[in-house]
């Protein structure tokens, strides 16, 4: 058994990229399967919470389509009680949201590791995890907005009203604010180590604040419109299967995105180092070639690039 594990480790080592690509393909296939299943085999779900805000027009347990999207019976009567398939967004919206929190946690863990070891590799990983968080947070908010439009509100104009009155949406906006602030902070600090340290500290702080804002927003706000019991025991098997497939698919996609981005950034750093070396070599050659003080137009001389310290 131990030999097998060691063999597997040896096989996997140095093949992160291949694995990431394979996982991206599998994740894509799984997500597609979940998509098809959500619209074909899954039953309509009936458990959502009661909407108790006057401005949310559908005070009903079932997510309803706005009247104009309701399937109209041919005899001309209007049937307002058909649960609409907007509820299908659930299978993608929830996994993306869960994943965004997972990657956010990953960023904080890498930040802790960075502060302990001062290894720039961890800083890179933390930053890429934060980028992935941004991606998934935006995905959550966009899919959530679509769902909101279909089940709570009558026009897109009401969307921002919901954003500021529903606890879960508010806390998600705060999380987006954190991720954006993280990148704003990164941009405005000069000096590699300083930038890495500050952003690591901030991402740890953000990770601690997010649960606070989740709890405190609920404590202070009585409005509750967002469905909460997504994983309650009442969920049908036909709902649960595409949901779980989608979670795994999204996780694979997330891992693939993260790994490929880390790889890309590492390659970029290597290219920068090589560029500096080339400019150094050019500058040395120019110096050697023109000892009389003739004008030096090489890139390094014009831009004043600092010499790189060590050849890799």
């Amino acid at each position: 058994m131990k030999d097998l594990l060691i063999k597997a480790r040896d096989f996997l080592q140095g093949r992160e990229i291949q694995i990431a690509i394979v996982l991206a393909v599998i994740g894509g296939i799984l997500t597609t399967i979940a998509f098809v299943m959500a619209f074909t085999t899954a039953n309509m779900q009936y458990h959502t919470t009661t909407v108790n805000v006057p401005s949310f027009v559908h005070d009903t347990r079932v997510p309803l389509a706005p009247p104009e999207f309701q399937p109209q019976p041919p005899d001309g009567t209007v049937n307002y009680h058909n649960p609409w398939f907007s509820q299908k967004i659930f299978y993608f919206h929830v996994p993306i949201a869960q994943l965004s929190l997972l990657v956010f946690t990953l960023a904080a863990i890498f930040s802790v590791l960075f502060l302990r070891t001062k290894d720039p590799n961890y800083d890179l990983r933390s930053r890429v995890a934060m980028e992935t968080t941004l991606l998934f947070t935006l995905g959550t908010m966009i899919s959530g907005s679509l769902w909101t439009r279909a089940s709570w509100i009558n026009s897109w104009g009401e969307l921002f009203g919901t954003l500021l009155s529903e606890p879960r949406l508010v806390t998600y906006s705060v999380m987006l604010m954190f991720v954006v602030a993280y990148f704003v902070l990164r941009r405005s600090v000069s000096g590699e180590e300083k930038r890495a340290t500050y952003s690591a500290v901030f991402s740890i702080l953000a990770w601690i604040i997010v649960p606070f804002s989740f709890i405190f927003t609920r404590v202070t706000n009585q409005v509750q419109a967002h469905p909460t019991d997504a994983l309650n025991p009442g969920m049908d098997t036909s709902n649960l299967i595409p949901f779980i497939i989608c979670i795994f698919g999204m996780m694979m996609l997330g891992y693939a995105i993260y790994t490929l981005r880390v790889r890309e950034e590492k390659k970029r750093a290597q290219i920068e180092a090589i560029k500096e070396d080339i400019e150094d070599a050019l500058a040395d050659a120019a110096k050697a070639g023109s000892p009389t003080g003739a004008p030096n137009y090489s890139a390094a001389a014009v831009l004043g690039t600092p010499k790189s310290k060590e050849k890799k």
Binding site: L115, L185, S188, G191, Y198, V201, A206, S213, T217, V219
Partner: protein, 245 residues
Amino acid sequence: MDNSLPKISSWRQYKALLRKDIAQELRTKEMVTSMGLYGILVLVIYYIALSQTGTEFDVTAIAAGLLLLMIVFTSMLGLNRSLIHEHDQGQLEALLLAPIDRPVIFLAKATTNFLFLAIVQVVVVPLFYLIYVSGALPVLLGDITPGPWWMTAIVLFLGAVGIAGVGTLLATISVNTAGRDFILAVLFIPVMYPLLLVLVTALNAAIMGGPGFEATFWQMCAAAAFYNAVLIAVAYGLYDYILGV
């Protein structure tokens, strides 16, 4: 050789740092005057903003929010100023060279920030209270009976502790960046979001009164105290890394 120098206790280091900041403030009077003046100017802006609301408008309903807004603005101004000297005149380097424990630097800085914030609030908040709470029409007519004034004082105290504690960490980060004031605002608002939320709920309970407002008030105060305890501990732990680079 090592033992030839007497070990200075952290308490004495803390007192010395505190004395330094207070002496500096007494000579320049820079932070307290700028923050106080800014607070009064915010009151003028409130007057302008609310000048067209008419007599029917119940200002006490938004008084908690207005008060918190004033405190957030003045404290952000003060936090920014509090570390600019340290940074621009190389005081921080001198402090790091001196045999002072780094957590002590954090605690001393947070304490002075709290102190200046408290002094400014003692001047500005009563003014606000007289205009927008005890001088408001519904209160004068007796439609609303606000809670006692010390309730507001407790909320403001908790707010000042949180703002000074966590804000000192954020100000130390932002003072080293390119766009100081802007970066402080960008970092400050999301980090303070949970605290500000419970503070405004507690303030609203204290100002509006109403049935059962004490329960809400004490719950929110407990929440704010919890936030302060956790976040100040975290800021205390992380401050060392910030100063190190």
